[in-house]
């Protein structure tokens, strides 16, 4: 990291002094111990289950370059993000100098000036000082922030703040010793001053000038002291890393490469599960049932808390903190690993440890209950905000989902409100106890054919309109169903519904940990869809959209599934929907992003574009948290079926934010969000309309062109 230790002697001979020999010893010990620590830590990952993460190397490398090296996620937050990127990029640049300094410690004649053309070498020297200044400025600011004005996400029980302060202090000391080594060298080595100092080492040169009064001998001694301080700090820092949260430095880039949270694969799909597998338990109740990648997540985490700061449950005062999920997993791994995989190079040490006093307490504990409680797990809305925010691509949600599976599948433990949901799903094929016979009641008199009727006539409709349970049974959502059906009819789309043959695909059960019930329902749905040889499905429920499009392939169901926001946008773009040209007054509207549409499927523009195309005069405003940062409505992850007793209600938090935009109408694109927003608006007694985007479009349909489908008794 240093350039200041450049020796006076320009000879290339290996003439080692006593100092060089001493440093060689230090270096060998330091590198050996570091290597031992790393192996010891990596060995603990063997506790986890195997998982293949070597597929799609191109995509993974892209993630590494964008999320890792370009710091795309960390830069989502301005102040701390820029500072972190400065330290990170600074270290990348300074590491080249560090390599030189360590080599020079044992081989005084070594130096980049012998390898590089002079102009390039001068640039290299300049880069070292410039980045050292940048790093020093950044860590100073970060230290100030930690100590004087810590943001909320850096407070709390699970955070190692002292360690963070020490690390920042060490980094600052590294930069300072870098400068002082150069400055004392400037004084001590007059002979090379002309060639080795100047504009390309502005700080060492200026600082050296200021120390001009020192005698040569004193300067020489101070230079050595400074050099040793710097070198020892580097090696000490390196060896401390594997033992604290700053193991992050070693693991983050690796973790980003192995992570699936930004692809490859389908983002947000829950892990497939083989129910026929001969296993003792399902899901994960301890670290052995998580994969090595879930465990690596713990070592990549540096407790920055961006996940927890974005968590709707945490924001509204629930016990859940996604950061704690990860640090608990890491700490439990550190606690348990010696009993499972033993100590490095000690044959039979795991067996011996299991017999030692105190072992039973550790072995009787488990991640579920002893570290992570049921209440934390059920507070999650599966909104993916934590996963989205994590700068090192940790998957907090996968751990939560695996633990939920263990609770439900092994122990039948879930909030009591969930039992009727499971039972209705089993008996009625919907999360509510409505009669399946009433599923298509909304369509009475609307001239909407079922797949069965179409097939009878020998027709095969282009698209299946998947209505979903909300759209079939919920009174408010049924209006969305009718609105969307009217748009399809007005655009002369050849479509049909399944009618009474539609049943829930099981997504709520899956999110609630009941994989068994999910697979029963999903397989049933796939059977029905395949029976009608369905190819394209359109639905206005983002949960159905995500489940059928992204997770059905796990069970062999492959269909093109389109969300109505995208579908309507396409129809409007192709001018297939006859709209009125009279737009009325200019309406201020705020669109609320659905998690399963946005963060799960990256659909942010289609609903907004749909609104703009249907209502060119609309004034679309954005709430503070929007798009990939949008706040969940509170209904995801099966929370729709669980009472929200703790803290502030999430839908109130979100509605307040939307109402604060001054919007007269809140637009949604999800029936669950609709329920939550309608409830929020009513509780706040706000004079705001909540409309689905299809209702906005349907209201603009040109009556002259609309078919006359609304004649009852067709």
């Amino acid at each position: 990291m240093d350039d200041g230790d450049r020796p006076v002697v320009v000879s290339t001979g290996i003439a080692m002094t006593g100092q060089n020999v001493a440093f060689l010893l230090v270096l060998v010990v330091a590198v050996s111990f570091f290597s031992y620590s790393i192996q010891r830590a990596l060995r603990t990952l063997r506790v986890g289950l195997p998982e293949q993460r070597l597929d799609a190397p191109g995509r993974r490398t892209w993630n590494l370059l964008t999320i890792g090296f370009a710091q795309s996620k960390i830069l989502r937050e301005r102040g701390a993000g820029v500072s972190h990127a400065a330290v990170f990029w600074g270290f990348l640049v300074l590491t080249a100098g560090t390599a030189e300094i360590l080599l020079q410690g044992v081989w005084p004649g070594f130096g980049y000036e012998h390898l590089l053309p002079r102009p390039l070498w001068q640039l290299f020297m300049l880069s070292q000082e410039v980045f050292a200044v940048i790093v020093l400025a950044a860590v100073s600011w970060l230290l100030w922030r930690r100590l004087v004005a810590p943001p909320k996400r850096l407070q709390g029980e699970e955070i190692h703040s002292t360690e963070a302060v020490i690390i920042l202090g060490v980094i600052a000391a590294l930069m300072v010793t870098l400068f002082t080594t150069g400055a004392f060298e400037y004084v001590a080595r007059e002979g090379v001053r002309a060639t080795h100092f100047g504009w390309f080492r502005p700080i060492a040169t200026a600082l050296g000038g200021a120390f001009g009064a020192l005698s040569l001998g004193t300067a020489e001694t101070l230079r050595d002291v400074s050099w040793w301080a710097h070198a020892l700090l580097v090696l000490g820092f390196l060896n401390f890393l594997p033992y604290g949260k700053h193991f992050h430095v070693v693991n983050s880039l690796i973790n980003v490469w192995f992570s699936n949270t930004s692809g490859p694969g389908t983002v947000g799909a829950m892990k497939p599960m083989d129910l026929e597998a001969e296993v003792e338990s399902f899901g994960a109740s301890d670290v052995e049932q998580l994969t090595w990648k879930n465990l690596l997540d713990g070592y990549a985490c540096t407790e920055c808390g961006r996940c927890t700061a974005a968590c709707p449950a945490n924001i509204t005062g629930k016990v859940l903190s996604p950061r704690k999920i990860v640090t608990d997993t890491r700490d439990r791994l550190r606690e348990k690993a010696p009993y499972v995989v033993g100590e490095l190079d000690v044959e039979g040490s795991a067996e011996a440890m299991r017999l030692a006093p105190g072992a039973q307490a550790v072995l009787d504990n488990r991640l579920l209950d002893n570290w992570i409680t049921e209440a934390e797990l059920w507070a999650c809305t599966s909104c993916r905000a934590c996963v989205q925010e994590c700068p090192v691509s940790i998957d907090q949600l996968e751990i939560i989902n695996e633990l939920r599976r263990a609770l439900v599948l092994n122990e039948s433990r879930f909030p009591e409100e969930v039992l009727p949901t499971f039972e209705s799903l089993e008996r009625n094929g919907s999360p509510w106890a409505f009669s399946p016979a009433d599923r298509a009641q909304w369509a009475e008199g609307l001239d909407i054919p079922t797949m069965a009727e179409k097939l009878e006539r020998g027709e095969r409709p282009e698209i299946l309109f998947w209505v979903g349970c909300m759209g079939s049974f919920d009174d408010r959502a049924k209006k969305i169903t009718v609105a969307f059906a009217r748009i399809l009819q007005a655009a002369n789309v050849d479509f049909a519904i399944l009618g009474q043959e539609e049943t829930c695909h099981g997504d709520p059960a899956r999110r609630l940990g009941n994989e068994y019930l999910y697979q029963v329902l999903a397989k049933g749905t796939i059977e029905t869809l395949d029976r009608y040889e369905v190819k394209t499905i359109v639905t206005f429920c983002p949960h159905c959209f995500h489940q059928m499009g992204n997770e059905f392939p796990q069970l062999g169901g492959n269909y093109e599934v389109i969300h109505h926001s995208t579908y309507i946008e396409r129809l409007l773009e192709a001018n297939l929907v006859p709209l009125q040209t009279e737009h009325g007054k200019r309406l201020t509207m705020a669109y609320h992003d659905s998690c399963y549409l946005g963060r799960y499927n990256d659909v942010y523009d289609a609903p907004r574009e749909t609104l703009r195309r249907a209502l060119p005069v609309v004034n679309l405003v954005e709430p503070a948290r929007t798009k990939s940062r949008g706040l969940c409505c509170g209904a995801g992850g099966g929370r729709m079926f669980i009472d929200e007793k703790e803290g502030k209600r999430i839908n109130i938090e979100r509605t307040e934010e939307l109402v604060a935009t001054g919007a007269e109408t809140i637009a949604v694109a999800c029936p669950f969000c609709m329920t939550m927003m309608v409830d929020g608006v009513a509780k706040l007694e706000a004079d705001v309309n909540v409309l689905d985007i299809s209702e906005v479009v349907a209201a603009q349909l040109d009556p002259a062109h609309e078919r006359a489908p609304l004649v009852a008794g067709d």
Partner: protein, 251 residues
């Protein structure tokens, strides 16, 4: 302790029923079936007793066509140890025929306790349990909301109008279980479902007794007339009162 629980497979009562073509049965198309609620509580009570008394076994018995095996598997998934299907083409309407078949099965089973739900939610007769007790010559305690076993005898409680009745009886005995004896029947875990596949389920012909009672006709309740809005505000009150007195006759 050996416990037997007799369970019945019934349609989900939330469904919209239709009368079958013969006019004397319900049309089963589209109906979902599950264990009768009271029977579920009886299974739960049996499992809790078995957990309390080490070495106990719980056997579930159901009479009917092969579809009852699904209901029996559910009880096995909840934790019962063995299941017996008394195979019959259909479940006769007369409880006595069923009771005779069950009694024949239970007679030599050596059970200490035979549990039933207080009634089956579809037929709501509540007589099969007491008839089995009579046929086996055993004491019978009905509609229990509390049940404890002490060695070779048991105590129970039943809710009666305005109070509680405390009972004591020797074992073996037949009990029917009311709502409230258990808080909730357990939800079968996947572990339980997997284990249930390997548990014994015997199927044997039901020794049905003579059918004494048959259903000759079924009718759906009359559709409720649509609600009527009389008017709005204070002006509508006299008319509303008049209608409540003359038409609805509730005042």
């Amino acid at each position: 302790m050996k416990i037997a629980v007799c369970i019945k497979r019934v349609p989900d009562m939330g469904a919209r029923f239709k009368i079958g073509a013969d006019g004397a049965s319900i049309d089963e198309t589209g109906l979902k079936f599950d264990m009768s609620d009271f029977d579920e509580w009886a299974v739960e009570a049996a499992l809790q007793l078995a957990e309390k008394h080490a070495g106990s076994t719980v056997t579930v018995i159901s009479l009917g066509p092969d579809s009852v095996q699904e209901t029996l598997r559910k009880a096995l998934a909840m934790g019962a140890d063995a299941a017996v299907q008394l195979k019959a083409e259909s479940v006769p309407a007369g409880g006595f025929a069923v009771a005779q078949a069950l009694a024949a099965e239970l007679k030599d089973g050596g059970y200490d306790l035979i549990l039933f739900g207080r009634l089956a939610v579809d037929s709501a007769a509540g007589i099969t349990g007491p008839m089995v007790a009579e046929l086996l010559g055993l004491p019978c305690a009905t509609a229990l909301c509390k049940l404890d076993v002490q060695g070779t005898s048991a105590t129970g409680e039943r809710q009666i109008e305005g109070g509680v009745e405390q009972l004591a009886f020797p074992l073996p005995a037949v009990c029917t279980i009311d709502q409230g004896l258990v808080v909730q029947a357990r939800y079968p875990s996947l572990k339980g479902i997997m284990a249930a596949k390997k548990k014994p389920l015997a199927s044997k012909p039901a020794a049905l007794g003579g059918v004494g009672v048959t259903i000759t006709k079924m009718e759906l309740p009359a559709e409720r007339a649509a609600g009527r809005i009389v008017g709005e505000g204070a002006d509508a009150v006299p008319e509303l009162v008049r209608l409540l007195q003359t038409e609805a006759k509730v005042l």
